[in-house]
Symmetry: C2
Subunit: 647 residues, 2 copies
């Protein structure tokens, strides 16, 4: 790891009090905020630099020049309000809030850490005015705030930043229509129009067309300017002040990655051969150092041009980080491989994507079989209903997105498809609690419950790469129903061994650790790892805990289940999910119905609260689903097997 | 009831083979279809006439003139496809399909009846190409079908009809963007632009602005014409044929209620003093007879002008209908009264509506306190996020829509609001299985499961009017969390008596029938009625079944629960919901966790399949949750109390 250096608050104070020309000053401050953003993301190991940088000048401009927020304070009802609807640009916002004394350095150095700062905005953090969900909610929420101000007679405008790819979400148009219908004139939307979404150009994913005309037709006053030019921003804000009969929107032409030459669009897109590599994730050491140096050099050049001293950097103390087990296996890579093979062989299979092709590992399908691939953009509802139409026509659509977005945002569309009794495969990427860095909007611990009440949908989560391939093949070739395939997105903490000749059998789990004092059912690489480690800890205490990998989350072979728990008094279910509506509820209902439970104890260990953000180890512990916590919980109820034999 | 008369298939055949000028012929056929639609809706007791009539000429034109569907048959992959995205105009479509021999008279006379025709489109019915959900899904689905045709090299266009109020749904814009981005040129959308949504003008609810320009900017080829003028429809379809590089949309200017003078907009809106009364529901006897006579008279005038014989009507045989218990109580009326009182007293309460103000009984709030009322149009996601913004600013938003739409379509928005830990009240109208006439898209048997995994949301369903008022007041004045208030929309089958001095106590139910052999927990007027009747049936068999009204669906007072089931061996939960994620799962988990279940039997009686459409009594029986079925199920497991005393 490189040495980390930080631009302390005192330096921002020096600049702010310098008497420098405003526009020059904001430019320097923005670069200083970029440098601190870069450092915090690098230390965190992930985060969104491209958007943080494209939106940085706007955020600096709003807080330093346009808004009364810092002056009045974040509790004042007359304050201006700013928040970002896309949310993933929050590392940049944190740096601005730090520069203004709202957040501390220690908080920024704990980006994506428990008790640090969330990877997406969370209202519990100082200066954060609203949470973001998946994309597209911000204008609606800002409108609610603006209407509230109007109702209560409070002053201040509400400024909400959106992405440009975000304009593919339908809710945006709902909010555009209603805000203009209600003439919400204290609402200002700013579109960070950096022309690139996850890793491709917006006009390549889903073209937005003539944006100015569109927004004007939706009844908004529209301005457009260079979002890095403070003079132009001045002019636009001046115009906005004159408009009092409608909501206002600025199309801010920006550069994704602005401030670090090799991250800037369009060069970065050329370098990446059409793919933008700086949307999310932390840069490698060399890129970090080069980028940091470039920023500091430019800051110093600007300072010297004004006869100011160079920027003072302070070294960052080493950051303590709990280790997490990681293997070299990604189940999602196996998924991508199996999918490629299926698409090649089966011309009735169509893969659908909502601008997450890289994360979902379906880019190879897109490149190799473009005629069997539909890029839907950031429009999950449209994607799912499109899949419905394809399925009615006899195709087998495989729908990909993050579980948190797909299960909830497109829930009714999935239900409507299910009402048609067609077969569709929904792949829920990024299922479960981990990785926890991106926070509540991305962690998916409700998805099983969100689809569990569909009688004709099977939910499966594989434990490793091999089982992932089996599961996808089962969904495509064997399942009669629609399927939901639940996958973690990160590396498997360890690679689960499967016996040779192992085959998926509907409703049956696999014993991966033998035991007779208790039995624990769980699923997915993250929780199986914790379960195995708790098995080992319990061995030290003299107990044997049978561990069952249960990939079927809403189907069970009752005879197998009866046999599996026979002569065992204590039954546990470990969820990578909330307690409500997970595997535990399902198994408990079955065991009671089939008179299997009888006198056994039954305990569900699950995420009981809203999911916390942070590093995997600390978040698992926080929710009491790490192996140490499991051991403690299990020791309270496990009883030595009293049966003479157990097989 | 009036005598019913029917226009038989032979009369459509006579017209179709008459050699009459096409446009004259279609006009007569459309009126004939209107007459049969009117009769089937009147017999059904409900249905959507206004939209069925505004879209009728278009449906007739498409099937009789434009499409190859009837000629090729509904199995031919090269056929043209038509379906309606709004779906509630399906009675009109059924009449057209009947006229063409696709459906039978007996089916149409069983509109909204089990094994008859669904109140909304269902793909299991002949000639129905897709289900509708809540509004806004159709263009996406049609696009999927059109892409499938393109991929497989099949001919035929896909025609999808949308409403105009439906254009308030965001998914519409997702689908407009992606269809044009993918240049889906075999897709034709037709907007039934009748200018009126549920009961108000579209431009009053949420103005659509310059529709032609908007649609063109979204990349579609746009035409506009009188949707009742077959010559103009000819011209438009001719134009569409020339356009091969993009999707096409027709804005069809239509008249809501077209064909029956007093149902026609704008006169009908004037007569209703700004409210349109013929959107849903069946007309009274006199209106039915006047409307039917008007149609038949016009048909005969047109026939005579062509020297044709008058239309031959055949009498409709009496329709057998199972009776359903109905009292004069509507819990939703009590809700409306309580809400009016709360809004009057508490200026921080804001009521939000998504174009269902009449059904949700919040119109009085709208009229009396317009400053505390926000009409959001048919845009549930925007409504919920707007509520989120209001709540952040210290207001208490009360969000109203049908449960099926709100719980699923706005699920992620509700979650994101919950992440902010503000307090919002979501009123889920039309919760549960009944009324079942409108079918799967409206019956809500998943909503508890859809929000059950939110730790900071309390779910409450009251059993009668009195408890409804208590529950709303609890939500507003006592609850610390957000609340979901679950209400049935129809009349209570019977009025549940509450003891004098009854108060809601969090987590506690109320025993409404004493018993000692078994205990049954249930909620809501529909299921409490079935439970009480099963209690009576079981008494005849010598068993006493304790019936508990349990308004708290995800909170329980454990001590109370322990006491409530003490000395009872058989526990039952009757759901107005699917088994998965309802009250039963919650109570079972609690009883196991708190060692209350022990050796008791526990059975959940719930809707196990996709909900069936039909009359209340037949649908309750179909799903095995009517009192007779309950009795049978309970008799299998109930055991005479073996405890010496029971209190």
């Amino acid at each position: 790891m490189p040495d980390f250096n930080w631009i302390p608050k005192s330096e921002f104070h020096r600049l702010n009090e310098s008497g420098l020309n405003d526009h020059v000053k904001y430019g320097i401050i923005a670069d200083m905020c970029r440098a601190n953003t870069l450092t915090s993301v690098k230390i965190a190991g992930s985060g969104h630099l491209g958007s943080s940088f494209s939106a940085m000048d706007i955020a600096v401009y709003l807080y330093y020049k346009q808004m009364n927020t810092i002056e009045l304070g974040f509790e004042d009802p007359d304050r201006d309000i700013y928040f970002s609807s896309k949310g993933h640009d929050v590392p940049g916002l944190y740096a601005v809030l730090y520069s203004l004394g709202v957040l501390t350095r220690d908080q920024l150095l704990k980006l994506r850490r428990l008790e640090g700062l969330d990877g997406h905005p969370d209202i519990s953090i100082n200066g954060i005015e609203a949470n973001s969900g998946s994309l597209g909610m911000g204008i609606s929420k800002a409108k609610g705030m603006a209407i509230a101000k109007r109702m209560s007679g409070h002053g201040g405008n509400v400024y909400v930043l959106t992405g440009d790819g975000e304009l593919q979400e339908g809710q945006i148009y709902e909010s555009l229509q209603t805000a203009s219908h209600h003439a919400v004139n204290n609402l200002i939307a700013i579109i960070d129009h950096n022309k690139v979404q996850s890793d491709k150009r917006v006009d390549e994913i889903t073209n937005l067309g003539k944006l100015e005309e569109k927004l004007a037709l939706f009844g908004w006053h529209v301005e457009r300017c260079d979002g890095h030019d403070f003079k132009q921003l001045d002019a636009v804000m001046g115009e906005f002040q004159k408009i009092t009969d409608r909501p206002k929107v600025l199309i801010a032409d920006t550069i994704k990655g602005k401030g670090i030459s090799f991250m800037e669009h369009p060069q970065a897109l050329k370098d990446g051969k059409g793919l933008y590599h700086w949307h999310s994730g932390a840069p490698d050491d060399k890129s970090f150092q080069n980028g940091f140096n470039e920023l500091i050099d430019r800051i110093n050049v600007a300072l010297r041009a004004q006869n100011f001293n160079d920027i003072i950097l302070e070294p960052v103390p080493p950051i303590d980080k709990p280790g997490s087990c990681v293997s070299n296996e990604y189940v999602v890579v196996a998924y991508g491989e199996a999918l490629l093979d299926i698409v090649k062989k089966n011309k009735k299979v169509v893969v659908l994507d909502a601008d997450l092709a890289a994360d979902c590992r379906i880019r190879k399908c897109e490149d190799a079989y473009p005629n069997q691939f539909i890029e839907c953009g950031i429009a999950e509802q449209d994607m799912v209903s499109t899949a419905g139409g394809l399925a009615i026509q006899g195709y087998i659509p495989i729908v990909n997105s993050f579980a948190a977005f797909l299960a909830s945002r497109a829930n009714e569309q999935i239900y409507t498809n299910a009402c048609e009794n067609t077969k569709i495969i929904y792949t829920f990427h990024y299922a479960g609690l981990i990785p926890a860095g991106p926070g509540k909007s991305h962690q998916s611990i409700r998805d099983i419950s969100l689809l569990g009440a569909l009688p004709n949908l099977e939910i499966i989560q594989p434990c490793n790469a091999v089982e992932t391939k089996m599961a996808l093949n089962y969904c495509v070739y064997e399942a009669e129903n629609s399927c939901m395939l639940r996958l973690i997105i990160g590396p498997s903490p360890l690679i689960v061994d499967l016996p040779s000749g192992y085959r998926l059998k509907k409703g049956r789990g696999l014993v991966i650790r033998e035991g007779k004092d208790g039995v624990l059912f769980t699923y997915g690489p993250v929780m199986i790892h914790e379960a195995i480690k708790s098995h080992e800890l319990l061995l030290d205490e003299g107990y044997t805990l049978k561990i069952v990998n249960m990939p079927w989350l809403n189907r069970v072979d009752v005879d197998w289940l009866r046999q599996c728990v026979k002569d065992i008094n204590s039954v546990y279910v470990l969820e990578d999910h909330a307690a409500n509506g997970g595997l535990g509820d399902f198994l408990l209902r079955k065991m009671v119905k089939e008179s299997i439970l009888m006198q056994k104890s039954f305990e569900i260990m699950a995420v009981e609260e809203m999911p916390a953000w942070g590093n995997p180890a600390e978040v698992l512990k926080h929710h009491g689903v790490d192996h140490e916590s499991l051991k403690k919980k299990i020791l309270k109820t496990i009883a030595k097997c009293s049966f003479p034999s157990n097989k």
